[in-house]
């Protein structure tokens, strides 16, 4: 390939030479045509791509927050959580850098918890995951891996192994989540690691602790600020 492609370079220079008006015209037409095609396909497919992304997030949130019916994305602004308003369509790429969590509500519009995404280096590459946090009970109530390249048959048990998933039905986050060997779970804040995939399991624990450290105070403040569950908090 490279031999062919290396010819690109001289051409790019020649293009700049003033004598060759035709060269510039030809490339200009090529660029114009490609521009029209690209904008066309972008306008046509972009709504679908967005809908797909949204559906994927929705599926994950509903899975980690059982009983969730609707959700609102929250973003961190000046150290405070505020509801994120749908932004300019053109700037969707910049969403990636913005950290979002999702507040989930049940059918009665009551807040049931937060879905929090996070990532952490695992055995092979960064593991991306989302988990459900119930602020009332201070426990994690659901967990789902979004992205992982962990070894098939070993590390991928973090999302394929049903036993491992049961760790996250009511996992206390305080004082800290601790990994223990399989069958040794005694306290509510312990996670049984997978035999043969200790590093991947520990990465998940690290991920949960890290994300809780980042978000917990913000969530508490958000709840106080918006006077949600005032009565419950007083009890």
């Amino acid at each position: 390939m490279t031999e062919e492609q290396s010819k690109v370079l001289p051409d790019l220079i020649e293009e700049k030479e003033p004598s060759s008006f035709r060269l510039i015209l030809a490339l200009g037409i090529a660029g114009l045509m490609s521009g029209i095609i690209l904008v066309g396909i972008f306008i046509y497919t972009n709504p679908m791509i967005k809908a797909n992304k949204e559906a994927a997030i929705k599926r994950a949130i509903f899975k980690v927050l059982p009983g969730c019916e609707t959700y609102t994305p929250l973003k961190l602004d000046d150290g405070k959580l505020i509801e994120k308003v749908a932004s300019d369509d053109n700037k969707e790429e910049s969403d990636k850098e913005e950290l979002l969590i999702y507040a989930g509500y049940n059918t009665n519009k009551e807040l049931i918890g937060f879905a929090i995404p996070g990532d952490e280096p695992g055995f092979q590459d960064v593991i991306g995951a989302i988990f459900g946090y119930d602020d009332k009970e201070n426990v994690i109530i659901g967990f789902e891996v979004l992205e992982s390249k962990e070894t098939p048959g070993l590390g991928d048990k973090i999302f394929k192994d049903a036993d491992f998933q049961t760790n996250f039905s009511a996992l206390a986050v305080e004082p800290e989540i601790v990994p223990v060997k399989k069958g040794e779970k005694q306290n509510a804040n312990e996670v049984e690691t997978i035999t043969g995939a200790t590093i991947s399991s520990k990465a998940i624990v690290k991920l949960l602790n890290k994300s809780m450290g980042v978000w917990q105070t913000n969530i508490d403040e958000y709840i106080k600020e918006n006077k949600i569950r005032v009565s419950e908090k007083h009890e």
Partner: protein, 191 residues
């Protein structure tokens, strides 16, 4: 700092561009017969990757948020032109360095490893510093792979290898074995 270290080690060893993403295979299989050539090609790769990371960051931050559909075309054209530009500057400023790396530059500009670096680092949402570290790690990884394969190939030249397996076949199988060895680096950074 921890994060930067992970990015570097991950690109260099754990998720080596050539051995686990199969990027930059053409020079890997075609050129790397000689140890010294392989090493210089690797250095040229690091050089181009650093330029690429800078270009990708600039494009991604200021251009592509308004026109995401121009991603591929702008990456290719801007990277190719900037490498050409830097090559000319290098020729003027540091003829020695140019002599060492120059002939390889057109060969690797916008090959899969270079474009792959631009795509991966923008997909992962790396900032400028992270992008540069990633480029350094990825380039170092490609260099390592090239040098390792060239080392083995220099040895195989004096061996009596059956006709049918010579050429690409034996190179791929050697690459597979090296790649398998690199799998041992997984988990290096998490304890």
């Amino acid at each position: 700092m921890d994060n930067l270290m992970w990015i570097f080690i991950s690109a260099l060893l754990i998720n080596n561009f050539t051995l686990s993403y199969f990027l930059g295979l053409c020079p890997f299989l075609g050129v790397s017969g000689k140890l010294e050539t392989a090493f210089r090609l690797g250095l040229a790769n690091i050089f181009v990757m650093l330029i690429t990371a800078a270009c990708a960051y600039v494009l991604n931050t200021w251009v592509l948020i308004y026109a995401p559909y121009l991603r591929l075309i702008s990456f290719i054209i801007v990277i190719a032109s900037s490498v050409q530009f830097v090559e000319m500057a290098l020729k003027k400023l540091s003829p020695d360095l140019f002599r060492a790396l120059g002939i390889f530059l057109p060969l690797i500009t916008t090959n899969c490893a270079i474009l792959g670096l631009a795509l991966f680092s923008t997909n992962k949402g790396y900032g400028f510093v992270e992008g540069m570290i990633y480029a350094l790690g990825a380039g170092g990884g490609v260099t390592l792979a090239l040098v390792l394969l060239a080392g083995v190939r220099e040895e195989t030249r004096i061996l009596n290898i059956p006709n049918v397996i010579q050429g690409s076949a034996i190179n791929l199988i050697i690459a597979g074995i090296i790649s398998m060895a690199f799998m041992g680096f997984a988990g290096l950074f998490s304890s």
